[in-house]
Subunit: 235 residues, 2 copies
């Protein structure tokens, strides 16, 4: 069917990842091993891997091998909430948990999560602060079956939630989709981040995926618009 050999190699590697045989952070087989296993020349394997490296699915480390990329939440739109135009570099946003509980999901949330209406969910609400000042609120929902026991208040929720979910439940976050809009602040959000209701807030909706395109979380972040600025380059 005329599919180039290097594409066959790419698909092979992609499959290892999509089926969970390889997980972010894993070392993949070496170029020569792959060449033998798939019976193609080393140059072809190199080309396939080079393509996947450009796609950021893999990264190479000379002398060690080739790894599956970790999800790069540095590229999340979330990062663009900052200390305004003060020249100082990106100051970390610290998060405090303000609410969490198990509950049945609303129809809308269940639809976003791709689960049956009325499924048991874990709801987590956090406020993001720069220093003492609240900047944003985060509303997050997980299928309760994915993170059992996380509703227990004695379990501490760290800033890096996904790392914790990986360690505790073995569920790796593989990719995510984000959508950005702006709207007028609702009363709850406004109160939590200390602005007037009706003031503009930036709204960031995220869908988080694990292996096999399964959704594990939907999240809505609302933050002060005056602390948000997103830059791109067009060529």
């Amino acid at each position: 069917m005329g599919k180039p050999l290097y594409r066959v190699v790419e698909d092979h590697i992609r499959n290892l990842i999509n089926t969970g045989k390889l997980v972010p952070g894993d070392l993949i087989p070496s170029e020569s091993q792959l060449a033998k296993a798939l019976d193609v020349s080393p140059g072809t394997v190199k080309k396939a891997i080079t393509n996947l490296v450009w796609e950021k699915l893999l990264f190479r480390h000379q002398g060690k091998g080739t790894y599956v990329s970790r999800v790069d939440f540095e590229k999340s739109l979330f990062q663009f909430f900052s200390y305004g135009d003060a020249e100082g570099r990106s100051i970390r946003i610290h998060k405090t948990t303000t609410d969490r509980r198990r509950q049945e999901g609303s129809a809308a949330i269940c639809k976003r999560l791709g689960v049956e209406p009325g499924t048991e969910l874990l709801y987590i609400e956090r406020v993001g602060l720069i220093g003492e000042q609240p900047i944003l609120v985060e509303y997050s929902w997980w299928p309760a079956s994915v993170v059992p026991g996380l509703e227990d208040e004695r379990v501490h929720i760290p800033d890096f939630l996904y790392a914790m979910v990986l360690n505790r439940y073995g569920v790796p976050v593989v990719r995510a989709q984000e959508t950005l809009t702006a709207e007028a602040a609702d009363e709850t959000t406004a109160r939590m981040i200390g602005i007037e209701p009706g003031t503009p807030v930036v709204v960031l909706k995220r869908v988080t995926y694990t292996t096999g395109d399964r959704i594990v979380e939907v999240r809505t972040t609302k933050g002060r618009a005056d602390r948000f600025s997103y830059k791109t380059e067009i060529r």
Copy 2:
């Protein structure tokens, strides 16, 4: 100094572009020509070009040759103003010129343009409509010396301003930077797009560059937040 050969080739091509010897749309020398000219093997040239293709600086066309990419304003954040959540695909936004004149630039604008304060500028104001409904306003400034005569009202300003500037003045747009925020609508903007002052608007600031990193335009677009939504994928 240990710079890899393929990097030398890349830099050579990049230079041809940055100095304006090659302009977006141009055909670059063939791989074999470059190999001879720079005295490296064809494989090395191929690798260099492959890198630049991944960077989207070039694109190849089998049987024809390799070209310098045109700026892809499809990727502008501007594109994410749309007909709301109506499933229908991206409907074109038509633009009407509402004001244009030569004037001295304010200190702030001149600074963004990188010119002396008080430089003569061309100011263009346009409203973007979907169908009959105004969605956004665009405030744009050019050094008057770049686009002489464009203040003349008899000169029609088309939707694709950059194509016109290229044809009329031979000034190619090579890249642009965009910054996105949200804020409350000022009175002028609100009136022009038919919303209440104070309602959230999305603010998009653009700096447009021609050959040799020279700024030719700064532009601020303000649009209805409820018509804006920007999507990304994180991996």
